[in-house]
């Protein structure tokens, strides 16, 4: 699944660590590909990607596509931020239920005209910072 990429003229405030395993996810995300692991034994996806299936504990996991669309379960706008995020505050974060059945939490692409509402439709996007990507959601087009 290919996601829209929004390029930002800034560095990540708190860059995620990357392992030999998660590198696959972050590298793909950087190219707009939205993926996670799926268990070959029980067939269930999990997110964030994991080298062992949390459901059946099989290590036979494969990379698979995530849904690019979903609905917003809930959201908040964070005004009191940790020191490294102070320059970005206030910023919005939310919980998204992807159409393919995965729930995740991510940054929301906020703006003066955006009205966030639980159960509204959203689409996933890539925020391409100078030093790496993050996944985020915005109101569906």
């Amino acid at each position: 699944m290919t996601l829209p990429v929004l390029t930002l003229d800034a560095a990540l405030a708190y860059p995620p660590r990357i392992s030999a395993f998660t590198k696959t996810f972050w590298d793909a995300l950087g190219e707009g590909r939205w993926t996670t692991t799926c268990c070959s034994a029980c067939g269930r996806q999990t997110f964030p990607p994991k080298p062992v299936c949390p459901h059946c504990w099989s290590a036979a996991v494969e990379w698979s596509a995530l849904s690019a669309h979903g609905s917003l379960y809930s959201w908040t706008r964070i005004h009191a931020a940790p020191a490294v995020f102070a320059a970005e505050s206030p910023y919005a974060c939310g919980i998204v239920d992807l159409d393919s059945g995965i729930r995740l939490a991510c940054r929301l692409v906020d703006g003066p005209d955006v009205v966030w509402q639980p159960d509204m439709r959203v689409e996933m996007v890539v925020l391409r910072y100078q030093d790496g990507p993050l996944f985020a959601a915005r109101p569906a087009a």
Partner: protein
């Protein structure tokens, strides 16, 4: 006969600003506070130094310079023990775990008298700096913290969802803060005691929308010591005591958020833990006379009160607005003033909740006294109530 555990003594300093800045000429030293509290709690219990066989400490904050604080204090007090000396840690559940572990030591026969105690100092560290550490405790440090999530942001999302599903209003949430401030005004241990109005709460600046400054916990320092004993010891002392009648624990198998969509505001773990504790106590929620909930934000008190059956689902906010959970109401909640006004020195917060229940169930709560209080309930938690600990206590005269 099965052993039973009693809470027989308590001590605490008022929650507030006790920590000194690094450059202050005179420093507040944690062990000086803690040793004094041990003496006070042991005197309150009516036992002797030689009776103490286990000490379960809450882990100090990283800002406490003295490491291995627990065994350092053993030296300060020249206490030798056959039971257990340890520090426990479980984020917000830390102090509930200390209490629970002290119960275990008594039930296992390792101790007849055990202390659950600790100190949490953090107020001299600015909030934005403190959050650099706390933001790493909730969620996945790589996949969530990188997006800017903070601990109370998760509770804020609970509030958004609750308001969406049940039509609750900002004012109804704020009623919890007003009610707790009123309770705190009657509690000498409380950090914020000046009464306030609903307007005061709703007018505050947003912290994590929809929650404002008075919907979220203040930061503060605290320290407390509890004395627990076998019921046999408690009976021999000839004073009122508090019996631990039920204990329950549940972890829902997720950390902050489940990738399998669930009802995040049902707080299943505390529902499960309370069911276990009620069953052990042989009572139901209708028998509870008061509850001291680990509820960092107004919304959390509402959700927990519903999950443990004190208030019907979706009615918690309305119940707070209608005064049902206020002193004198149908089921008083957070008579100490709760985390929003009594204060929230996180790693020892639950110790203060047990102090309040001990005061109430021994009839010593003064103007806050819940008349005829027999059964009290306390909760502890971590994450977004992903795990919960529940204790049901009973007054024994």
């Amino acid at each position: 006969m099965t052993r039973r555990v009693a809470l027989i003594g308590t001590s605490a300093i008022p929650v507030g600003r006790h920590q000194t800045a690094d450059d202050a000429a005179l420093q507040t030293l944690e062990h000086e506070i803690m040793t004094r509290l041990v003496i006070e709690a042991v005197q309150d219990a009516g036992v002797d130094k030689k009776d103490i066989e286990s000490l379960v400490f809450t882990l100090p904050r990283p800002y406490t310079r003295q490491k291995y604080f627990h065994t350092f204090l053993m030296g300060q007090l020249r206490l030798s023990c056959r039971g257990n000396v340890m520090e426990v840690m479980g984020n917000g559940m830390t102090a509930a775990l200390a209490f629970d572990q002290a119960c275990n030591d008594i039930l296992l026969g390792r101790a007849n008298v055990a202390l659950a105690l600790g100190i949490n100092m953090e107020s001299a560290v600015p909030a934005a700096e403190h959050m650099m550490s706390s933001m790493r405790t909730t969620g996945d440090v790589d996949f969530h913290t990188s997006a800017g999530f903070t601990p109370i942001a998760w509770y804020a999302m609970d509030a958004t969802r609750y308001m969406h599903e049940h039509g609750a209003t900002r004012e109804q949430l704020g009623a919890v803060a007003v009610k707790n401030r009123f309770h705190a005004s009657l509690n000498p241990l409380a950090q914020f005691r000046k009464p306030m109005t609903l307007e005061d709460v709703v007018d505050q600046r947003p912290i994590v929308e929809p929650l404002g400054l008075y919907d979220v916990p203040p930061r503060g320092d605290g320290a407390a010591c509890l004395v627990l004993a076998s019921e046999e010891v408690a009976k021999s002392l000839g004073r009122p005591y508090v019996l631990v009648r039920g204990r329950g624990f549940h972890h829902d198998g997720s950390h902050q958020i489940s990738d399998v969509p669930n009802d995040m505001i049902a707080f299943d773990s505390v529902r499960e833990a309370s069911a276990t504790a009620y069953a052990q106590a042989g009572i139901g929620p209708a028998q509870i006379d008061l509850a001291e909930l680990y509820a960092p934000c107004t919304i959390v008190e509402i959700l927990v009160s519903e999950a443990i059956g004190l208030v019907p689902r979706g009615q918690g906010a309305r119940a707070a607005m209608d005064g049902e959970t206020r002193l004198g109401g149908r089921i008083p909640i957070s008579t100490s003033g709760g985390l929003t006004s009594r204060g929230h020195p996180a790693y020892v917060t639950s110790l203060y909740n047990y102090v309040e229940l001990a005061d109430q169930l021994r009839g010593r709560a003064g103007a806050r006294q819940v008349r005829g209080a027999r059964f009290g309930l306390a909760t502890g938690e971590l994450g977004n109530y992903n795990a919960a600990m529940v204790h049901v206590l009973e007054a024994m005269q």
